[in-house]
Symmetry: C2
Subunit: 371 residues, 2 copies
């Protein structure tokens, strides 16, 4: 079930890096924002250890940008999120839960403020462009909303700074976490952020112009040779250990940011204009009834969760497990779940209905040890 | 390239029929509306001939419904499309191009009018829900917009009527093309339409309630035994021969309905309220500069088009080929392209830049012979 073939067509878009990914022997993709996302190169386990020890080059072009620009851009971006953006400086990346009028999560992107009236919203897997355009048209806002030809390329892992410094110069080391700066390579300017969908450190390069994709890929691979660089991608084991949530997996439109543990990114009272504000004020008054948690399932390796696994306590529903992977480092199954209020204290033992039968599952904090 | 593995997770949603599809030995999926769409069972060629000769059961749950209901529902649905819906009767399916404020295609769904103030929009591959919700919220319309637990199951092929009559009764034969009626099976009511994404005839059953999926699947497979029923899915060869367009493949947000040959579904002048109306009136005045056409490429079988193939005439750009398949029946490569005005007359010879090198490509009408 987990390894059928993928039929590819124009609709499942190739990226500026797909040729290189293919030449490197990619084994599997998923489809994300109507685009190919490489998931496995050597094996999930090998890719995991390599990411933690060396450095990887990731084709994350699927993190499409929604560009919002124009006189009403700042107002529109604030409409989208309960995070207070009134003091957001240029040059910063903000993780911004995006909610609808009921406070339900529509996406969990990173927003970059490029200019006072120009933003890139680097999206997870939903057509947020359509929501933003719909609002802009419905409210007759004075903005342009579109998807530019910008494809992120990530350099992730402990050796990321060395590789990046070789290509973009030593100054890249000074970029702080979730800050971005324009950096030069061969007289071309690229926005480079210290960010990425792993806990191993690294950068994301916003490659503007598809034609720049392969030359930059090649330069980074060459610069990374002394550091054992290899192509990779978001790794299920690493991201579950690190507690990095995945929209569509660990949360859906039915969840509030507070359920996703993103309450700290919601200054709802101050986020004047946020469409979901009224609904979220209600959520804050009542408190979330369930919350994202780590879950540890000892015993034999379990397959990935293709559907949520229900968990129970004495036969009563206690939550769902939404992502799971066997960690070859921790020698246990690590998981992320949405656990009901009565059961979410770390240490609580649940029974998970896994594809291999019932299994003890212990609630724990995220991230996992040593992630 | 065309057959790497697919990584599946909760985000690439399973359908109510996925277990059955898997048991039947599905070979490949694509991902469509964040959900698994089976594409190949025996082989693309075998599936093609079987579809034309017998009858197939298709898991097309990926045709998700956007339900729009409430006092402003009819007004909102008309906002979305240049097709005049003022006289749309209950019980009808309408193919409705959905456009943005620039007249660009956002989706090409089939809309079902269930009640005066309640519609299902059966969508192609984009999160049209977000566009519709964005407009509704932005305009403060009095509607509810959501995705119900409804999963279409298609019975397609020349024997479809016999199979359906066995399960739903003889009255199903009387349903006319693009009409729907509530039909009973085991005291449960299902909306059944004569429709489907093939040219071989058949029905789509809107399975309301996931729990009904497997029992109905099993009943249809049982009823189809005398007719050699087998699971299938939209078949690339058959749909290209039939000239059935695919959103994301043959058209994108950059194309107008007129470029897609859907001008007959645009009563722009009468579609009062349509958001793209002003832009499309301009398109009508100037006429489209390119249009969807059939293209025939004789010679050895070509691979599917993963990216558009550029076509040229005397070195000048003349269009792109967006879908292609080798037809084992017509013994030629059949294709769909977006061809520029100066070259779109049937019979025009282009040179296509295929992955196998330049190839003569002759513009033709759609559908292909005998589709």
């Amino acid at each position: 079930m987990n390894a059928p073939f993928l039929s590819i067509s124009r609709r499942t878009r190739r990226t500026p890096f797909t040729n290189r990914v293919r030449e490197a022997g990619v084994k599997a993709y998923t489809v994300y924002n109507h685009m190919l996302l490489p998931t496995v190169f050597r094996s999930m386990d090998e890719d995991y250890f390599h990411l933690r020890e060396a450095v990887q080059l990731w084709d994350v072009a699927v993190e499409r940008q929604v560009e919002v620009r124009g006189p009403d851009a700042a107002r529109l971006v604030q409409l989208l999120t309960p995070r207070d953006l009134s003091d957001m400086p240029i040059g910063r990346c903000y993780y911004v839960p995006m909610v609808d009028e009921t406070g339900g999560m529509l996406n969990d992107p990173v927003a970059l403020k490029l200019e006072e009236d120009r933003f890139w919203i680097s999206i997870a897997d939903s057509d947020l462009l359509l929501w933003i355009k719909g609002l802009a048209v419905g409210m007759r806002l004075d903005v342009a909303v579109d998807e530019p030809d910008v494809s992120p390329l990530a350099v992730q892992g402990p050796k990321a700074d060395d590789v990046m410094a070789n290509v973009f110069g030593e100054r890249v080391r000074d970029i702080r976490f979730f800050r971005f700066e324009p950096m030069l390579w061969k007289d071309k300017e690229f926005i480079v952020a210290r960010s990425g969908y792993s806990k191993q450190g690294g950068f994301e390069i916003y490659v503007d112009g598809s034609a720049n994709g392969e030359p930059l890929w090649d330069a980074l691979m060459e610069a990374g040779k002394p550091h054992d660089i290899y192509p990779g991608g978001p790794n299920l084991i690493e991201r579950v250990e690190g507690g990095l949530l995945s929209y569509g997996n660990d949360m859906t439109r039915l969840n509030t940011p507070h359920e996703c543990g993103l309450g700290k990114f919601c200054q709802t009272a101050d986020a004047i204009g946020c469409i979901g504000r009224d609904a979220l004020i209600r959520v804050i008054m009542e408190g979330p009834q369930r919350m994202v948690r780590g879950v540890r399932l000892d015993g034999a390796p379990l397959p990935p969760a293709l559907d949520p696994w229900t968990t129970e306590v004495n036969g009563a529903f206690s939550g769902i497990i939404t992502s799971a992977a066997y960690s070859p480092r921790l020698k246990t199954n690590v998981a992320i779940g949405m656990i009901e209020l009565a059961y979410w204290e770390p240490g609580t033992t649940l029974i998970a209905q896994t594809p291999e039968g019932p299994r003890e599952a212990v609630v724990c904090d995220l991230p996992f040890d040593g992630a």
